[in-house]
């Protein structure tokens, strides 16, 4: 078992993320994809959202529409897969569960990345990074890179270096990169390579003569705050090694919504967490509705406090939803799938929901019995009663629907099997 390292040094932050996550998750169950150019397509098989390194080498850009790539796919040997969010969600859960064994302080940042609080000498931290990398690869089957630094912004930057520079062998520790090498890298790095800087902000920085990361490091934080924002000032301070980006608790991205909270007082029972998830289900539902989105896959997780000396746990569960939804009742019910994994008596300090496979609401009118207001109309209890009496697959909504994983809303011609969440779609192994 991995051990945390006793230390008197400043705590550091490790940023772990999976290389080309969706493509890597596909390859974990289909080794024939190894070494071949592979793209994973967005909903409705629209655009390439993830590219394997081989696909990048072909010059395929993120967001390139599939209809443009398809005619040349054969010539390139290019394989395309439709998004398989059930698979990605489950693999993500497993990666996070595994990482939680290495640090009691784990912040799931997105479906494929996490920040961990770590301590130790440079040698110990490097060794820890390599242990985590090897463990995720072997236990779950996907490759990760690790960046370790005093701040989140620098840890992200180190991770990028670890990915792009083979000399790091997948793990980059800020402290152990020689100062002159760091300086040379920062001078070369465009400022929009930094976490949180993109688009218009880049242009406005360029106007002020800030083109590289080093320029931004040298900028006056107060000027940055006045001309831009406190957020950007924090970035400058973080680049200088002062941690100031707090735990983010709610974030909505292009294809995922993450909603997590720490509790003022620990929750120690499954009943308590049931209430928590009921509230989170409603709040996540409100966030989705606000952005006009629905989700198809939900991951629920809870974590014990990192600051207490007692048993640690990080239960996590990935639940395919019966249909794309922002319905608080469905989200809550799905989140409750975590409850059997809750150990009574442990002090849970945090819980959260990660919603993925997002798509705009109203692409398709929901079938009558699947309308959101079924609860108000008393249809929910009725469906449950029917299921209870006539078996789970007798009616579409509720668990029967979840189980069959109906996927009638999306065009996903090239989706691989949902290897880890559907009994009918298990990976096949050859006995020949």
């Amino acid at each position: 078992m991995p051990k945390t390292v006793p230390m008197r040094r400043m705590p550091q932050i490790a940023h772990v993320d999976v290389n080309c996550f969706y493509a890597s998750a596909e390859r974990a169950f289909d080794p024939s994809l190894e070494g071949r150019p592979l793209v994973v397509l967005s909903n409705n098989d629209g655009c390439a959202v993830t590219r394997s390194p081989e696909a990048k080498a072909l010059g395929i850009a993120t967001g390139e529409p599939w209809f443009k790539l398809a005619p040349r796919a054969k010539e390139w040997g290019l394989v395309a897969k439709s998004s398989n969010y059930e698979l990605y969600g489950d693999i993500s859960s497993r990666v996070m569960e595994l990482l939680a064994r290495y640090s009691a302080w784990l912040e799931v940042y997105s479906i494929d990345e996490a920040f961990l609080g770590v301590k130790g000498s440079p040698d110990q931290l490097l060794a820890l990074g390599h242990r985590m990398k090897a463990a995720v690869r072997r236990h779950v089957g996907v490759p990760v890179c690790v960046g370790v630094a005093p701040t989140k912004t620098l840890a992200k930057l180190c991770n990028k270096w670890a990915k792009n520079n083979p000399a790091f062998n997948g793990v980059c520790l800020w402290e152990s990169v020689p100062a002159d090498v760091r300086a040379a890298l920062l001078v070369r790095l465009p400022v929009d390579e930094i976490w949180g800087i993109a688009g218009r902000l880049t242009k406005r920085l360029n106007v002020l003569g800030i083109f590289t990361v080093q320029d931004l490091v040298n900028a006056d934080p107060v000027m940055i705050r006045d001309k831009f924002s406190v957020v950007l000032m924090r970035t400058v301070l973080e680049l200088r090694g002062t941690p100031c980006i707090p735990m983010e608790e709610e974030r909505i991205g292009r294809d995922q919504l993450i909603f997590s909270r720490s509790f003022a007082t620990p929750v120690t029972t499954a009943a308590g967490l049931r209430e928590v998830f009921s509230i989170y289900g409603q709040q996540a539902s409100a966030r989705l509705s606000k952005h006009g989105l629905q989700a198809k896959v939900l991951t629920a997780f809870a974590a014990t406090s990192p600051f207490r000396q007692h048993e640690q746990a990080y239960p996590s569960v990935c639940v395919p939803l019966p249909m794309p939804t922002a319905d608080p009742v469905l989200l809550t019910r799905a989140a409750h799938a975590l409850l059997p994994n809750i150990r009574e008596g442990l002090k849970y300090a945090k819980a959260g929901l990660l919603l993925t496979d997002l798509r705009p609401t109203g692409n398709q009118p929901p079938l009558e019995p699947f309308e959101n207001r079924h609860e108000e109309r008393g249809i929910g209890p009725l469906l449950e009663e029917v299921s209870r009496r006539f078996g789970r697959s007798s009616i579409g909504l509720g668990h029967g629907g979840i189980r069959s994983g109906l996927d009638w809303t999306m065009k996903r011609d090239m989706r691989s099997p949902r290897y880890t969440t559907h009994w009918d779609e298990l990976p096949l192994v050859k006995a020949a």
């Binding site: 569960e97 072997r138 236990h139 089957g141 569960v317 994994n341 880890t420």
Partner: protein
């Protein structure tokens, strides 16, 4: 520091191995007093899966492992965290395919054996040249 990773509900509709086995008296006579104290189902997840995070279920196609009691259509519980040893039933990557074999590690080299005389052994110079995907721990044989 102990870490618990609770059993995961793989499918929200029905836990993979959620089987109700209650202690019901079979023979005539008094009903089992334990019946009144029954407090939970046998959870096959808890008994068959040691490390849920690194455990996967796969389905077998083919008859090359009949001798090991693994038949076409059976499911295997595979733990990716286990170190493959001489004698392990492993899932190995062969020509881009997941393949189930008996692993033999001898002084002369590594052999992937079928458990059926119809199939030939595959010799590998060293374990390092082989990608072992995982180690099978249980076979869910259909009877």
């Amino acid at each position: 520091m102990g870490v618990i990773v609770g059993p995961r509900v793989i499918d929200a509709g029905a836990s993979l191995f959620s089987v109700l086995i209650s202690p019901v008296a079979v023979a005539a006579g008094f009903p089992s007093p334990a019946q009144d104290y029954f407090d939970g189902r046998i959870d096959l997840n808890a008994h068959l899966i040691k490390d849920i995070t690194s455990t996967f279920v796969v389905r077998v196609t083919g008859d090359s492992m009949e001798g090991a009691g693994i038949s076409d259509g059976d499911e295997l519980i595979v733990n990716r965290a286990l170190e493959p040893k001489d004698g392990s039933v492993v899932i190995a990557v062969l020509d881009g395919e997941l393949t189930v074999k008996r692993l033999r590690i001898t002084r002369t080299g590594v052999v992937l054996q079928a458990e059926n005389p119809k199939y030939r052994d595959i010799h590998v110079p060293a374990l390092a040249e082989l990608t072992i995907w995982g180690v099978a721990t249980r076979c869910l044989h259909h009877v």
